[in-house]
Assembly symmetry: C2
Homo-oligomer: 131 residues x 2
């Protein structure tokens, strides 16, 4: 399950593994607590690793939760990622949608706006939890 990837440093690997094994988004401080046994002592150790993992596209930050998740899809298919977040179980699904992406970019162009990053997050209740 552990793919070998753009060589990660020890700290980066530890943080990535922690996120990969989590079933819900984790805050940086939760990650820190889980890695204390591995020698982590300070938030910055986590944040630095998170920054690199974000750069590599291996994880995502959920703005509405101030938390992080491991990326699930190989995001070769560019474009805006829509995060679908269940508030009950914490499960996060990712999807890319051409229509949403194109329409957002179109609306931006219309008003002469250059998009540098886009955030789309749906919060609610997933199918499993609403039964």
């Amino acid at each position: 399950m552990t793919l070998s990837l753009p060589d990660l440093t020890k700290n980066q690997s530890l943080v990535f593994e922690t996120l990969s094994q989590a079933e819900a988004p984790l805050s940086a401080y939760t990650i820190l607590d889980q890695l204390r046994s591995e020698g982590f002592r300070a938030p910055l150790q986590v944040y630095r690793a998170l920054d690199k993992l974000l750069e590599h596209g291996l994880i995502h930050r959920l703005e509405s939760l101030n938390a992080f998740v491991a990326c699930r899809h190989s995001h070769k298919h560019q474009g805006t990622t829509v995060f679908v977040i269940c508030g009950r179980c914490g499960d996060v699904d990712e999807l890319t949608d051409q229509v949403v992406n194109d329409q957002l970019m179109q609306r931006a162009v219309e008003r002469d706006f250059t998009v540098e990053s886009a955030m789309v997050e749906l919060r609610g209740c997933c199918g499993s939890c609403s039964q």
Copy 2:
């Protein structure tokens, strides 16, 4: 310019006026500082007012900035609001887009997900700033 609205309390009015006159999103603590001369002493005075204003739909919270703006449009036209945020001048534009809204809701329904709230924020550079 100051419409009379669902009766706001003194604190709520002060916070709303502050946001209305601002040219960019303000953090709760920035609002607090601006209202110290009016007797504000603690963050909670601001947050409580913000909560009520959010309930009334008079302001919005920008998740990607941890900041707040006064609402510009009369949001009678329901649906997901797209925030278009310039990182240079801080200007925030709001728009509602039926296509984006419908598509997001469609994708949610497909996977049996009940949307409770949706956040769409575009960050980048506005036309004025890129000239």
